[in-house]
Amino acid sequence: MRIRVDWRVSCRLVGTILKWLWVPLLFPLGIALYDGTALLPFVLPILGTALLGLGLEQLTDERDLRAREAFLMVSLTWLSIALVGAVPFLLAGEGTLAEPVNALFESMSGITTTGATVIVNFELHSRAILMWRAVLQWLGGLGILVLATAVLSQLSVGGAQLMETETQTQDVNKLTPRISETAALLWKLYIGLTGLQVAVLYGLHLVGYAPEMTLYNAIAHAFTTIATSGFSPRGDSIAAFSPAVQWVIIPFMAIGATSFVLLYFVFQGNFDRLRNSDEFRFYVAILGFFSLGVGGMLFANGGPYTSLEEIARHAIFQVVSIVTTTGYASTDFNLWSAGPKHLLFVCMFIGGMAGSTTCSIKTLRWLVVVKAFRRDLFTAASPSAIRPVRLSGSVIDEETIRDIYAYTLVSLVFFILATIFVVLDASRVQLTVSEFEAMSAAAATFFNIGPAFGIAGPLESYEPFPRSTKLVMTFLMWVGRIEIIPVLVLLTPSYWQS
């Protein structure tokens, strides 16, 4: 007997999520109404996605999600939301987003919280469309799947299975016995933090410290800060705003990349969990180390900055922005000398804490890799020794360590292959892309960071890349966000047969 994947179950559940996508679409629709700009780009998708969702739900009555279906569902959810999310861009028909590949790229960049943009001239786009980008990122931030989990677990399907597939960490810290409650808690925290940031940013505006930070900008930036995603409705990103705004955004990016489970405990008044977390200390140490490194180099090189405050601000801002995979720019770091630029490039491979809105390899994995390697060095000298690898006092099982090694290796292989493709494809169309630029663009999309160096720099656009490259990058953003494994599993023939 051949047991195949019941793809209908996966599609049905994707339908359940799509069915609800009309709710976030209301927000840009409201702005379009207020501004008197085109409503069609939002009205049509609202109807379309609801119908599509309901249609998919008719595929089967079966709701039971097993591991196989979960992989398919995770992959399809991100893909389908990216497709639906591109429709308003196409319908609006403004600027570079009117082109289908560009629209899909922008939408995928949004929902995967990458923040890489193909927009060349931000003035051409309506506020509603720019807000839709921010909304997509906000949804993608904590993972539309956590929302889905909350919804789906109401339908008594394998929520835990889903959450595990989404986070790829074996020990999802369930905060409550019911996964739907955990998801709801995380969402409350997420919404609360976003609200707080809106208040702080707009507050700065009201007291005169942030002339450019209107309510619209405050909301759009709060949406994309906590989500560590990095779309800004301004072409020059956070560089368009006052130093006060830049200082305020730094801690919010850092919080967005902090484990939400830890944040939950902190809000409960339990600071011990934070203090005792090896990963948190490692994460903070990394931010500190690279900030000092970049700051020191900027200071030594002279450079465009005049005051120590400026150097500190840009160094810390850029390091936090890249490590947390947010991708905002407070300055055009493209103009920096090679030293600090390369340090920032290294930051792309780190990522924030597991269980946060961040992407990339994540500090948890690096910490485990470092600890496991240190253990291996010890056992090389003392072959009989049994040394479990511990994280915050608890033992990580060997299988998880192997998974983490494998994941890290596969990520680096993906990154290398992507770099090679970008170089080859660019030379095919006689586009001048240096290897460093190609590497940074591959890393920036695959690790969901956003801006790269050079051609795709912080104040530039991905638009000049050939369509084929942009499609591959869209794929990279997709697999990068769902941490490769679900998609790779789908690509193995045995997944579909056996």
Partner: protein, 445 residues
């Protein structure tokens, strides 16, 4: 006092015999041979039966009993016996357990299982081991007066600085009293002119610091001042707790366990211990891992034979000190005769702990010396005591000559007992008393 002892094994009979001197003791055991043996050799009522049966307990007079000591080799039997006894009335119950989970539960809620006092054999043994290992050359260490005073017994080797000296010459420590010497198994009270020969054991009472410095004088010159590099062989429960206690003292011990799964388990539970998975009887391995440079090797496997072998191997490759756990009580002396520095018998330790507890009320704490030839006692003196209100020089004239006042503590402070020291009511006095004069001494103090 009427005491019922359930289980006539090594622990039970030891306790029964020791309590029989001053109490009515009834022993219950399922083994008729053990029952007969006890009945004929001691003034004890022995009953054949199962201690978990209410009927047996009633036959033994549980309703009139003051204390029940469940000391079989089986944890669950001991717990159920105590629980059963509690159904009858207000008897005070003591249970011996190996499984530390029971002990943990009991310490959380001290009426758990119907047990009023629980002795955790393995934890107790591990504590004994760690105390002994902490002092170079010590073979026994017991704390008194809440840790302000220590009684320690040392083996004097030929290389030892004090070998050949008189007690007067060796006594260079402010807060330390020489209590006795053990020469060829006999306890001799230490006098100024008593000569300390190699092979003797000395028993001293003093502040922990002075005992520590004295231990360095006794130990051979090449031994380390402080044991830091300690190897535990065997991941038994005792081995596990020993390593854990060492960790708590800031020492990173090494633990050798042959079984891979158990080794992994131990490594996970003991973050401060280096767990090695190997057969500890493999000399090449021991040398390869530089076990020969260890300050002490503790053999704590589940097998006495293996513990002996491991200890001998360790000595052979040059380890300074070896401590072995010996389950079979009668082998303990043999182990030490062969040259193992310290042999610790969990059953003996358990019996001693229970006897110590049963003596409470009369004395604060006690420790048994050389097959009960002598005891070290801690008492709180009151107005009536012969010691109270006058210099020690005067009071000793009224005490038998086989008594040494080892230490005095007042308001949690250590006082060096000198001839002119005046003892006040409420002071805690640590005495060394030969067993033959125990009763008259107890009456006087």
């Amino acid at each position: 006092m009427r005491v019922i002892v359930v289980g006539a094994g090594e622990v039970g009979s030891n306790i029964a015999v020791s309590l029989a001197e001053s109490h009515d003791v009834i022993v219950i055991d399922v083994d008729p041979e053990k029952v007969d043996e006890l009945t004929y050799s001691n003034d004890i009522l022995a009953i054949e039966g199962d201690g978990t049966s209410l009927e047996t307990l009633e036959n033994a007079g549980i309703a009139e009993a003051d204390m029940l000591i469940a000391s079989t080799d089986d944890d669950e039997t001991n717990l159920v016996t105590c629980g059963t006894a509690k159904t009858v009335g207000g008897v005070f119950t003591i249970a011996r357990t190996r499984n530390t989970n029971f002990f943990k539960t009991w310490t959380k809620s001290e009426d758990a299982f119907g047990v009023d006092f629980m002795v955790s054999t393995n934890l107790l043994t591990a504590n004994d081991i760690v105390r002994v290992v902490g002092l170079p050359a010590a073979i026994d260490v017991d704390p008194f007066a809440g840790g302000l005073v220590q009684m320690a017994e040392f083996e004097v080797t030929a290389e030892s600085e004090i070998a050949g000296q008189t007690v007067e010459e060796a006594d260079k420590f402010e807060a330390l009293t020489f209590a006795a010497l053990v020469q060829d198994g006999d306890v001799v009270i230490a006098r100024g002119q008593t000569r300390i020969e190699a092979g003797n054991r000395v028993i001293v009472i003093g502040s922990p610091e002075s005992v520590q410095s004295f231990s360095r004088t006794v130990a051979s010159p090449e031994s380390s001042d402080e044991a830091r590099d300690i190897v535990v062989v065997g991941g038994s429960d005792i081995g596990y707790h020993t390593a854990k206690l060492l960790e708590e003292r800031g020492i990173e011990p090494r633990l050798i366990e042959q079984d891979a799964d158990r080794g992994r388990e131990l490594a996970e539970d003991l973050p401060g211990t280096i767990v090695l998975e190997h057969d500890a009887t493999d000399t090449d391995f021991l040398v390869g891992e530089q076990i020969d440079r260890a300050d002490a090797v503790i053999a704590a496997t589940d097998s006495d034979e293996k513990n002996l072998l491991v200890s001998l191997l360790a000595q052979n490759i040059g380890v300074q000190r070896t401590v072995a756990v010996v389950e079979e009580g009668q082998y303990a002396g043999l182990f030490e005769a062969i040259g193992i520095d310290v042999a610790i018998n969990p059953r003996e330790a358990t019996a001693e702990e229970i006897i110590r507890f049963t003596q409470k009320g009369q004395v604060e704490n006690l420790s048994l010396i050389e097959d009960r030839q002598a005891e070290v006692l801690e008492i709180e003196v009151d107005e009536e005591s012969v010691l109270t209100g006058r210099p020690i020089r005067e009071s000793v004239t009224e005490l038998p000559s086989d008594v040494v006042i080892g230490a005095v503590t007042r308001d949690q402070e250590f006082i060096v007992p000198r001839g002119e020291t005046v003892i006040e009511p409420g002071d805690h006095v640590v005495l060394f008393v030969a067993t033959d004069v125990l009763s008259p001494v107890m009456d006087l103090v």
